[in-house]
Symmetry: D2
Subunit: 387 residues, 4 copies
């Protein structure tokens, strides 16, 4: 176990701020637990809500010093950049349409950004954000958290190491059921508003995860896609179900299905990859297991830290096999990888080779994926390229 309970000493923890993540947000709390789990960060500042009052209340509840609570991310970026012990990194956990504007303020002041996915709500914003990252000396980490699961690292390592041979077929799916009917809750509201979420509904919220995961694990580049999007619930302005056919460079083919209207599916992200020499199967809801089927041999169950799992998985595991790690641990791994990169930057050293985190380019591809899905669907599921 490499990520053990060992913390950095208090003075060395990375000083973290947060934009968004006020009282009634879901993902903000997840980011905070994730930042804390491996003890590499300490949360010291925040612009948690869009109103001063709510921001103060949320910040106080989190134990932030009153003068480190801001009602505006720009003020926060300006002041923290000047403070002697100002934040070194910021977590951006707002609705999608705010990501770019917020990230830009911190990036241009040299503050590292850890940003929730999808990268932005529009493709132009995504491209601007890429430029903002390229012209900053700060790091940008996108929390495609599912890439933090040990068995996903294991799968990637096996495929890049050639254990499946040349990849032929990639089946990835991400069904949920929480939007089966109209939902009057905040989580649903902004996620189904194209102004805040972007033109993609399920494609943006979860399809990007599925696409990112397939790309991460296989190392394949998407060449083109054909997408058939639907909004099944009456009055819904963005897709809540998407069927997508995928063509990868080099000849592999795939399918991606994401849905928010599939009753019985809580968060059923699932990836299956088949190559000339074998297959791999993984399901997010049971993340400690990876099925490996070498062709003409019995299927093998590889478990986190168990026999058959290698160094790539062990690096990001905390506890022994049979002691399940879950969603928060996978998310924390993204933070720990970010920490490793930031610590290296502190020391003026290059990021260690084994450290892996999703970048702004991965984020751009995600937004391009959504854009391509929407364009293809508008053209009756014609094949389109990412652009």
């Amino acid at each position: 176990m490499v990520i053990d309970g060992r913390s950095e000493s208090h003075d060395n923890r990375i000083r973290l701020g947060m934009v968004g993540g006020g009282n009634d947000a879901f993902i903000g709390g997840v980011h905070r637990i994730a930042s804390r789990l491996d003890d590499k960060f300490t949360l010291v500042a925040g612009a948690l809500s869009s109103t001063a009052e709510k921001s103060q209340a949320s910040g106080a509840a989190l134990g932030l010093a009153p003068d480190r609570i801001y009602d505006d991310f720009k003020k926060m970026a300006i002041r923290e950049a000047r403070l002697k012990n100002g934040i070194e990194a910021v977590a951006i956990v707002t609705p999608n349409h705010v990501h770019y504007a917020a990230a830009r303020e911190f990036l241009k002041r040299g503050i590292h950004v850890i940003c929730d996915k999808p990268l932005t709500s529009t493709l132009p914003d995504a491209k601007k954000l890429v430029k903002a990252v390229e012209s900053s000396n700060a790091l940008f980490i996108l929390t495609h958290n599912y890439t933090g699961y040990p068995m996903i690292r294991q799968a990637r390592d096996m495929i890049l190491g050639g254990e499946l041979g040349k990849i032929r077929v990639v089946q990835v799916e991400y069904p949920q059921d929480w939007l089966t009917t109209h939902q009057d809750i905040k989580q649903a509201e902004w996620r189904t508003d194209p102004e805040r979420s972007g033109a993609g509904g399920s494609t943006g919220d979860i399809g990007t995860h599925a696409f990112n995961l397939a790309s991460f694990v296989t190392g394949l580049e998407l060449e083109s896609l054909a997408a058939d999007l639907q909004a099944f619930v009456e009055g819904r302005r963005v897709d809540d179900n998407a069927h997508v056919m995928l063509r990868f460079r080099g000849g592999a083919r795939g399918m991606l299905w994401c849905s928010q209207v599939a009753p019985g599916n809580e968060n059923a992200l699932r990836l299956r990859v088949y190559g000339e020499k074998g297959g791999l199967e993984w399901a997010q809801e049971d993340p400690n297991y990876l099925w490996h089927s070498p062709f003409e041999q019995p299927k093998r169950l590889i478990t986190r830290q168990g026999a058959g799992a290698g160094e790539a998985a062990a690096r990001v595991s905390r506890i022994p096999p049979g002691h399940p790690e879950g969603y928060l641990e996978g998310f924390a791994t993204i933070y720990s990888e970010a920490a490793a990169a930031i610590m290296a930057a502190r020391r003026g050293e290059p990021c260690p080779e084994e450290v892996i985190y999703p970048t702004v380019y991965d984020g751009l591809k995600g937004v391009q994926f959504v854009d391509a899905c929407v364009r293809s669907s508008a053209r009756n599921a014609a094949w389109v390229k990412l652009s």
Copy 2:
């Protein structure tokens, strides 16, 4: 349990002949067990192989009287039709390209036909076979055997009864792995030869099953499809992997994936259906289970003959819950349904309402499905209608 061990008396068993199914065939043996399991048939004649010598050897091994062993299905049809106790029904279990010619001979002589799927190897043949059936007073039963599974009957009954509400999404897949590499065996040889198998490879052999199952369970009519077919194994002349997007009348959407190159999948036909009020999931390799997810209620495991399973499943079950029935029992149900229809015909009565079996029209749709997949794929996965 409705299909119990009770047999018809010996004189009343339906006299069955078989075309194809010689010594080294797979599906012929399956048909014979299926015909025997519920004791409604007795095999008395056969044209089991394409040569007289092999036919005699196979027939003798099966205990057929020498004068009821034929080297040619036409001779068999002619003579058996004249015999006092000639066959009443024939099972056709040859490679696909022979189905039409063989079926025609029996149909026109009033002998009922039980035919393996897909209906034919070409669409013109399929249409001719429909006419042959329509102009015969004999019955035609297609062995889409997966419709015989009790939990499939249960699923169909629930959906047609409205338990899922309006159907939105249909995910059906049928991956296998046995053709991951080139295979020098008879089963593989004819199935990958377009002259004998038809223009579809995996689409014809297993895609038709998947398509039929989805149609049978949901009652939905396909409006159009977009298919991306591949032949991954070098030199293979028919598809061994197919990704298909489906649009059904009434607005439901779906995906169909079939593959013969997905290592770790033995015979992994799986159907998932999602409606406004709930979801259903079923997997052929674990056929005694049906998962039902009423929206916002816990997922329920309905088992064959267990609590929660109804009359439609019980009608075609033989033994109590927890005593697994399998592939052969599902196949035998098709034979028992055929027997019920044939017995009714014997008595000059209409077929009982509750008896269900796949018809020549289902078979035609299957061949149209393959044809549409091939046409769509040739046009870069454009949407095409069945024709």
Copy 3:
């Protein structure tokens, strides 16, 4: 696939009679399907019920000739033994207390006996039956049907071949739930009547299966047991739940749990065996899978006819992997093994070495097991030996 659809020719099928198994019995129908599935037997006579009227009705429904329907097993044995084409074998499927008396009549007339389990309802009867078998030249086959499952044969082969090393721990359990409350049905009535079922309730009905399976697969001999039996349902006269600790010769230890009052368990026979070098796990409700865990290697899923399964399983398989075989096929294997032994006896040859079926000695052990459980429980779960 060794047990294919190939039937013996009609004249060569073994002529079978049946004692018990009238209209409303469960296990009689199972025996008939099992005898038919591989086409080695033909049912020609029966004493199916205890009254002449019921027997005639049941026999007629089964298509038996009226003069081969008997109202008494003794009359049947006497007359059939004299007929030129009288039965060669009889299936005894009555309640337990009739097994001995019925079997004796056929054995002493040289008619092979295929008998349902447990062997008898009392230990003295069991010992007398052993003698009856030993003094007959007819064969005696006990239908401990779970030994017919291919993956059970596979497990046995692996253990006897040393793949697990020396066996240390055997966990076997057989929970059901159908007697959770008092049940007013025939199946329940005689099974909970000590006069007909024997002194053991769940121990006799299902505990014997569990004990037999553990012994069959491991080859271990039981040295002593300590049993704590309960009758949880008020008024029940036999145990409906049993906890048993097992000590085997050579040092292995085990536990056996059987229950008929465990809601959620339909027929959940499950065996787990652990040795110095690995473990095996199998569950009856999903019988086509065998889990093999070589120590310090990933768990492997061995499937019927799949990679990793050997000749012992293939011998008793009918169809390819992924096409599930079930309870009836496993039961049919017992009949096919019996047929192989009977055919050899017909030819005056020894039974082929690879043929395996449960014997009267296995049956005696089962009755001794029940007797030991009852004795131990009466002495506050003291250790007792089989006697």
Copy 4:
């Protein structure tokens, strides 16, 4: 979600010390993550190893101030009790034989104790520790962490609420495989040394967890047990496999199996409870699922935060259904419950009614359980009472 990302403000976090848990320990790191996850504690002092040098190294690695690193728990207790901002609580994570001596020092100085299980290595120590707790005004929390799993809380709530009716049968098991052969690692060394671990091997290390879990969930009191212990690995001085029959007050019966020599079992704690009205099944390796089988209704899958799960589970959940929580989250719940109790004590208020944590009395029962197992086994598995 009740335990969200909201942290106490920094000044309010509970100041925590740790005894044991130096560099190469497993459970120390787990306790630290668990204490951190919900942000209720801050680690400020430690006596982490038995030598001064190792203690300093470990403490420095954890970022402790040098003057808060001790080489002796007694010195630590004395000094910390006098400091103005000394620790309020201490986590004791040493080998078992040190628990009592360490806990005593802190308890008598009013410092709350969070102690790893089993309570002590000997029964006399356990009884002395009970007295030490009773004569202290500090709290004592035992980390039977499996009681922190949400679905365990759900199961307990359902059973205590009568949903299963009167409980009849309790099947609990905890197999592992890591000690299948002799292991030369520190974790194995002390756990198999009776001087440090106690007279029980597997019974103490994992059997106590299983026993505690069964008691916690069912609320049943053990009346007597009969145990058959084995040390299968040559030279091992404590049991590595135990078969135990259980009799509970009120008539319920049970079985407990724990093993460290069962290949293929990583950490397979599993609990099944059956009552007059239904059954429940739960497995630690898949902890977000609880199977509920109401008698004569379909089995239902209750998921953490999903439909069907109630307030008792929601109280200790952090994230939505389908986002798996694992071992660390369950462990953290014990810390959060401890924090709630300690916070209440700070305020001079009684502990909130809904707060649940394992107490010293639960710990005493665990040691009594081990003692009873050892005594019973020495008397050939005679029934013994806890004493």
